[in-house]
């Protein structure tokens, strides 16, 4: 009979059986890693390990060289650093540097914001900013220091001028790049809400361009920091106490090489501190949380 040969759905579906042990008593599918593996998985541990290796190489080479004037050993440098820290000099010098730095940074970022907002308003404005950034982005800020000294004299105003210049262009460049890469759909959505003018800029454009804005903040922070230390190396004579750069220059003149290293070390430490205390959390709470960067 042909009827008996007709297949039913249950003939066509074949389920597989697994002889897995009872899930309530079985070992879990995920097993813990061994302890040393767990520790090695921590970023900070791996990085500290690398730093320790580098310090060791430094120490061994310095001992072999045996010339403290040219290359003080790692331990001597650390000692000099803590001595300068204890005497309060390093902190005072850092404070002077950071004060000027923050003034210049805030000034530069504000100027960049004003320029960028002007630039997104009109095509001519964006052409202007585009031309200006391509002109000045390649011109190092420190090259303007002689001119600044001529205009503003020895002292903080000259440094501020150079600092604002150093911050302005990378910041404006990144902000503008951020604005121009916003998805057209998002812009239409903002318009659809009936937003216009500054409300549109602050509620839609700036958050939408935030990944690039954060990059701009970081890049221009590094620019500002480098420019300031370089400018302080050139002069600090008249500005009384002077900053970190001047500290380094002074100690070099006194042939205190370990102190020079301690000064450089401080520059690095403050840089890393800012990266971890300011920019990392800022990124984690904004662009990473929003899934705009991963």
């Amino acid at each position: 009979m042909h009827v008996e040969k007709l297949l039913t759905a249950s003939d066509l579906i074949r389920e597989f059986k697994f002889d897995n042990p009872d899930p309530t008593t079985a070992i879990e599918a995920a097993r813990p890693l061994p302890l040393w593996r767990k520790i090695w998985e921590i970023d900070a541990v791996r990085k500290l390990f690398l730093l320790a290796v580098m310090a060791l190489v430094w120490q061994l080479y310095a001992i072999k060289l045996g010339n403290t004037l040219v290359l003080p050993s790692f331990t001597v440098t650390v000692q000099a650093f803590f001595n300068a820290l204890k005497s309060g000099e390093l902190i005072a010098r850092s404070a002077v540097t950071l004060k000027v730095l923050s003034m210049g940074y805030i000034g530069g970022v504000t100027a960049a914001a004003v320029l960028s907002i002007f630039a997104i308003g009109s095509r001519l404005g964006s052409d202007l900013l585009d031309t200006l950034t391509s002109m000045f982005n390649v011109l190092p800020a420190i090259a303007l220091l002689p001119l600044a000294l001529l205009w503003f004299g020895l002292g903080t105003p000259s440094i501020l001028f150079v600092l604002i210049y150093a911050v302005l262009w990378p910041m404006a460049l990144n902000t503008l790049a951020g604005f121009s890469s916003i998805s057209p759909t998002l812009k239409l959505v903002g318009r659809n809400y009936g937003l216009g003018g500054l409300r549109y800029v602050f509620l839609i454009l700036i958050p939408a361009a935030f990944p690039s804005i954060v990059t701009g903040l970081k890049v221009s922070w590094a620019f500002a920091w480098r420019t300031l230390i370089a400018a302080e190396l050139v002069f600090g004579v008249s500005s009384g106490s002077g900053g970190l750069g001047w500290f380094i220059y002074e100690r070099k003149n006194q042939l205190e090489t370990a102190d020079v290293f301690a000064g450089l070390f401080t520059v690095i430490v403050i840089g890393i501190l800012f990266e971890n205390v300011v920019f990392r959390p800022l990124e984690r709470n904004t662009v990473y949380r929003w899934g705009m960067r991963s």
């Binding site: 759909t185 998002l186 959505v189 318009r191 659809n192 009936g194 409300r199 939408a208 904004t286 705009m292």
Partner: protein, 269 residues
């Protein structure tokens, strides 16, 4: 004045949206392209009007013009008797793209922000309304999730909840389900019809899919390309149509296809 003109005037008064002899042009670096040529139609309260045509026929441009993002070269578009001059929250658009949600706001924040930004609603009130509409699209479990953690279908549901909550005169949809997988698309189409029966809104829907147009619309305008012109209007009668796959459905779909592609032999959807 003849009786006929009085009649048509009365009918025009009932229309929420009237597009009158609209021509749309846009400029590329080398050409002035005509996207839509002399288009006229009315949309009445509660309509689900579909603009159906192949890609590049200008139907999306027409939708953008109604939204106020594009200005007609000639003709005019009237919303409740007033000409449309700019984009506004009385015509809310739902896009095909998943990035139409603000990535820096949660699901709830996205909908509530639309209400506070577009109207004068206070935050508390806006969040209450937002929760209500998100519940309607079945997203009450995801109020505090950020858009990038959602699937494509869920993102589109947020966009739909957002536009419903703004209570616009017309909802404008530009192929909102085109980027979804087939199963999700079907679910979303059903849900949209359900919401329409539940809330009752006026919809202008753009699609290039004949079956989607027949499924969602009560009237369909067929737009042919180069330049975009409205070739025919189809009134969708569910009794004649039947379900997808029925002979009535297939026959109408084929006739729509022939009307759209009469002049373009080698064009396929």
């Amino acid at each position: 004045m003849s009786i006929a003109s009085i009649d048509s005037a009365a009918e025009e008064n009932k229309a929420i949206l009237s597009v009158e002899d609209v021509t749309l042009e846009y400029r590329t670096r080398r050409h002035l392209v005509t996207a839509i040529l002399h288009a006229s139609f009315n949309l009445f309260a509660g309509d689900r009007l579909v603009l159906l045509g192949p890609s590049g026929c200008g139907k999306s441009s027409l939708l953008k013009a109604v939204a106020g993002h594009l200005r007609p070269t000639s003709g005019r578009i009237m919303l409740n008797g007033k000409p449309i001059r700019s984009a506004g929250p009385d015509r809310v658009m739902v896009f095909q793209e998943f990035d139409q949600l603000l990535p820096w706001k949660t699901v709830l924040g996205n909908v509530a922000f639309a209400l506070t930004a577009s109207g004068n609603m206070k935050r508390k009130e806006a969040e209450l309304a937002a929760t209500h509409y998100l519940h309607k699209v079945g997203l009450n479990g995801f109020l505090h999730a950020y858009p990038h953690t959602l699937s494509g279908g869920m993102k589109q549901r947020v966009a739909i909840a957002r536009c419903l909550s703004m209570r616009p005169e017309i909802i404008l949809m530009d192929e909102p389900f085109a980027a979804l997988d087939a199963l999700t698309r079907q679910k979303m189409q059903d849900q949209l019809l359900e919401l329409w029966r539940d809330i009752g809104f006026s919809l202008l829907f753009v699609t290039h899919s004949i079956s989607e147009a027949l499924l969602l619309g009560n009237r369909i305008l067929l737009v042919s390309p180069h330049p975009g012109q409205i070739r025919a209007e189809v009134t969708v009668d569910p009794n004649v149509l039947g379900r997808e796959g029925d002979s009535g459905f297939r026959e109408i779909a084929e006739r729509i296809h022939n009307t759209l592609f009469r002049d373009i032999a080698d064009y396929s959807i």
